[in-house]
């Protein structure tokens, strides 16, 4: 008899503990994301209010009325589950607590098409079983709001919160009542609602402040956005946001349209006239065509780079060869140029090699005057910063013989 009493007391205590502290007894519900909660809530919209039940059909996040027809409810619901005061027609629907338990998938995962009604508003309001109370100001989509006129109380209601609008009205999902069924709408809610959050809500991404680490910290689908990796410096024309203001190459640093340069045109500002540019190790300098001559100097990127500016498509009217002696091999033609980059010029022609001056006829290039290399260079000498181009001065090939005297080669395009 004594043993029986001890066993009885033990089981009584276990039951009480299980009810009052179920988290210790049963652990947490399966993980769910907020989007999964809203998806299930949305799938119930349009089904009827069904006292003490929770069962409907869905196709993804939408209700599936073709498989499970929405029922209807009449009267005003109260009383026991077996003998309610309202009448339901059909086999699908939910009351408010059945709806929330199903959408939250508590205590266990169960398909929405399985009828299951484990909790009432009394459970949601009076206990923290698989959920906890949170302040109103902490509400997020997928949380719930529950009110009850006491514990145990007689009346209550619970709903799934989605968001607040610009007036402070609350957008939510609920099994509203017998006449209206499960709805999604905006409504003003009384302030006696308690806010509760399901346990074990997970996020594929936990939002935090975006920092420069190659990760999407704020979970907005973008990595290191908002200039978090930017160290401010003077904006220059390089396709980057140097001054970290969110704009690229803004202001006056990119007066010329570098991106307009194509492989068949030296029209760098898109005005239809061929412009004259020179590229060197420390920068690119251009003279925009005026139609009858060339304008003043416009500076380009400070440093040429191997990824772009060394490629033929970026060559402009003139490319001053750097110490690397850039040469793009092509078929040798009789044009005074070492086209095949073999160190000889016009070796296929009968050119007089002791000719002291070589004149190029550039009349096929619109807007570019005929000029001699030597003349052209000396004319432009004051424009091209002598500091930058000093090293090339002594290497100019002046006689057009293809041999670089002291060694500079010029590519004419």
């Amino acid at each position: 008899m004594k043993n029986y009493n001890l066993k009885f007391v033990f089981f009584e205590v276990l039951i009480v503990v299980s009810i009052v502290f179920p988290k210790f007894s049963f652990g947490a519900p399966d993980p769910m994301t907020r989007d999964e909660i809203i998806c299930l809530a949305r799938s119930g919209v349009g089904y009827s209010y069904w006292w003490c039940h929770a069962k409907w059909c869905r196709s993804g996040c939408s209700p599936d009325f073709s498989s499970c027809r929405a029922g209807s409810c009449s009267g005003s619901c109260s009383g026991s589950c077996l003998a309610p005061t309202c009448t339901h027609y059909g086999s699908y629907g939910a009351d408010c607590s059945g709806f929330v338990a199903k959408v939250w998938q508590v205590p266990d995962p169960s398909p929405v098409s399985t009828n299951y009604h484990p909790y009432s508003t009394q459970d949601f309001y009076c206990y923290s079983i698989y959920w906890s109370t949170i302040p109103f100001s902490s509400l997020e989509k997928g949380d719930a709001m529950v009110r009850r006129d006491g514990c145990p109380g007689r009346r209550g209601h619970v709903l799934i919160y989605e968001s607040g609008d610009s007036w402070g009205s609350i957008r939510h999902y609920e099994a509203s009542g017998c006449s209206s069924g499960i709805v999604h709408h905006t409504h003003s809610l009384t302030t006696d609602f308690k806010c509760i959050r399901r346990d074990n809500i997970v996020s594929p991404c936990t939002p935090s402040l975006e920092v420069c680490d190659g990760e999407d910290n704020d979970c907005d689908g973008e990595i290191d956005e908002g200039g978090v990796c930017c160290t401010p410096s003077e904006e220059v024309c390089d396709g980057e946001d140097n001054d970290c203001d969110g704009e690229v190459d803004e202001g006056v640093v990119c007066l010329i349209g570098w991106n307009l340069v194509s492989s068949i045109s030296s029209d760098i500002n898109g005005d239809g006239m061929a412009d004259l540019c020179a590229r060197a190790a420390r920068g690119i300098v251009c003279h925009l065509s005026t139609g009858s001559g060339f304008g003043g100097v416009i500076n380009g990127p400070e440093i040429s780079n191997a990824s772009g500016w060394n490629q033929p498509i970026y060559f402009s009217t003139i490319q001053l060869v750097t110490g690397d002696n850039v040469c793009i091999p092509e078929d040798e033609v009789c044009d005074g140029i070492d086209n095949d980059c073999d160190g000889e010029v016009d070796e296929i022609c009968n050119r007089n090699e002791d000719e002291s001056e070589f004149v190029l006829e550039n009349s096929d290039i619109a807007g570019v005057e005929d000029f001699t290399l030597e003349t052209e260079y000396s004319e432009r000498e004051t424009d091209f910063d002598s500091k930058e181009y000093d090293s090339y001065e002594s290497r100019l090939e002046n006689n057009g013989g293809g041999v670089i005297e002291g060694g500079c080669g010029c590519v004419i395009r």
Binding site: T133, G177, S179, S180
Partner: protein, 342 residues
Amino acid sequence: MKLKLYRFCKILGKFMYVKNNNYKFSISGFFLLLLFASYTMASINHEKNIKSPDVVIHLPWGSGGLYAGGVDPNESAGQGPMSFTINSYGEIFLLDQLNYRVLSFDGDGKFIHETPISNGIFEDIEVLDNGYILLLDRTNRSEVVVFDSYGRELNHWKLIGDGIEEGGLVTAMLWRSDGLWLEYDHEHSVHIVDSNLMPCRREIVKGRISLDTKKSIVASLYGSNSASIAVIDRNSKKTIIEEKVFFDHNLYRIIWLDWDVHGNVYWFFHLVDRDVETDFPIFEEDRAFIFKTDLTKIGGFSSPFVIVPREQFREFRVSPDGDIFQMAFTDEGIKILKWRWE
């Protein structure tokens, strides 16, 4: 108050002297008296702005007759009459949807007429001068239904379309001189039918369309204890004027926004302070502000009748001539209160 007056008189006495058995004020006493008079006048002026509300209609909870349908069931949302409206004659119409009817009263609250309606899911009401009744069904059939005063259904228009993605997010139904407008998500208004009740091109304007239809107002919460308002010209879509209001309590929500024929703007708020530990409200009241067209504040009042667990879609209405009505729910029934201001 008596204590304050006594103290004031005591202080005032220090600024008086006796000459030829007559009480005379010193110069400083005179100015003090002037200050007191100004303060008193200012107080009176403020008090004159708003009078206590008249209870125009009082209906106990119940069904049929002069009762209002209300439910406060378990495991679902409670409900009372969802909405009411005032027509241009000052008549009051109560949407008693749980009793499947619309009740009409004259401006003094005398019962006039009962119009039966087809179901109990309507949430908002507008009544035209010809007696036609427009009822809003947001979530069931998602439509506006028009009845004549005998309850015959004359027409209906679907809500979903340009500017309205979901019926449940319609936040107001507004009858204007050019027809019916629906406000969506407190963000924009959509023109649904013209003044002849014919469907029209769905023009969308930002905010809530004004009574004269020439402007709209965008209102929103602004921080925890303030709200902003901007008047926008309907044609140019440019902001004409902006204003902010600040409260000495936390602002829970904006309740309603309305106009009268003079262009005055009426703005209603629900203020709530919550206990830091329990999060339950420790202070709660509705507050109203009245502005001139240029958003200069000209009046205001506080109402202790906040919403209760019986849901309602409309709480305040303003008649075309500027009378303010509030539908308040109590344990006994509903009251239509008329707030007067001068």
